[in-house]
């Protein structure tokens, strides 16, 4: 079956550790279909009680930012300190903020 392995698409796995938390990316795996990927994810990534919920997503369906565009994508935010709420001082006497 070794030639079949190459046919199996890659899936990205997201696990929610417990209720109230977000699903977090934990790794990837190969599987023939979505149901298979879900079960493989259960066996690979939740065997030590890591999660209460699992998502699997076909890796090919993820659109990712390119590393070479890192500068144009993220650097302009560097000097916009006013985007952080801590930039502003709250005037004396303001309530309900």
């Amino acid at each position: 079956m070794s030639e079949r392995m190459d046919d199996w698409p890659l899936w990205e796995v997201f696990v929610r550790a417990r209720r109230g938390l977000s699903h977090v990316h934990v790794g990837s795996l190969h599987a023939a279909d979505a149901e298979h990927a879900l079960r493989n994810a259960r066996d690979l990534y939740t065997r030590r009680q890591e999660g209460v919920s699992v998502w699997v997503v076909p890796a090919a369906r993820i659109t990712a930012s390119a590393p070479e565009e890192k500068g144009a994508f993220f650097d302009p935010a560097d000097d916009k300190v006013y985007r952080h709420p801590t930039f502003y001082t709250v005037p004396e006497g303001v309530e309900h903020l």
Binding site: M1, S2, R4, M5, W8, L29, H30, A31, A32, D33, E35, H36, R39, N40, D43, L44, R47
Partner: protein
Amino acid sequence: MRDETGSPAAAVDTAVAAYALRLGDDALIASHRLAELVARAPQLEEDVALSNISLDLLGQARSLLSYAGRTEEQLTGVLRTEDDLAYLRDEAQFVNCRLVELPNTDFAYTVVRQMLFSGYAFELYSALTRSADETFAGIAGKAVKEVSYHRDHAAQWAVRLGDGTGESSGRMASALEAAWPYVDELFAGDDVTRIIAGAGIGPDPADLRPAWDAFVDGALAEAELRRPQVPAVTGLAGMGGRDGVHTEAFGYLLAEMQHLHRSHPGAAW
């Protein structure tokens, strides 16, 4: 002290020890067949999946064999530990059903064996959660969730392979034909199961069959596979796995499973 003269209480205890032993042997041998595939499964993710299932079964085997040993000790005064029972018995003393000892001829054989056995184990442990025996009920409560997943895992593969390519479908059909003759043994009753059922400790095996049939027929239909038309195999003079009469492949399995412990008595890590 219980007398050895055949009092009803002693008869039930004897049956409990025998029942725990056969259930433990089923789990142990099913576990070992999957352990043979560790680092040899067709694919990395499947390797981990089968290892997990093997370890679940080994855990069930340990609980059941320990209980068999403890119950037997009450009757005989001699304790056999889980290791004594797993490693120091000979072929004719194992009372597992023959289905679980069938070899991993190819991956389809593994899938079929797991599907047929897990389907049975699920119905059995579901029934045992209501056992009058607290130990069996406790073991079953944990095991039923495990075998529910084993059943699902195998059924998913059955559909994937049965409804896959001509090659995978053909291999599934061959595997079904090879395993099917050993199905009836799962649901056969004997003196042990009659006493167990009479005492409210466990089910009459025949009562598990309708639900098993429904599960297997459902999986086979989805997999576009059919029940093979092959007769049940009987053993020597009508005896089978529960009587210690096993298939040819079983001796080789035991040799591999037991050789380390027998070569290095008491080996542990």
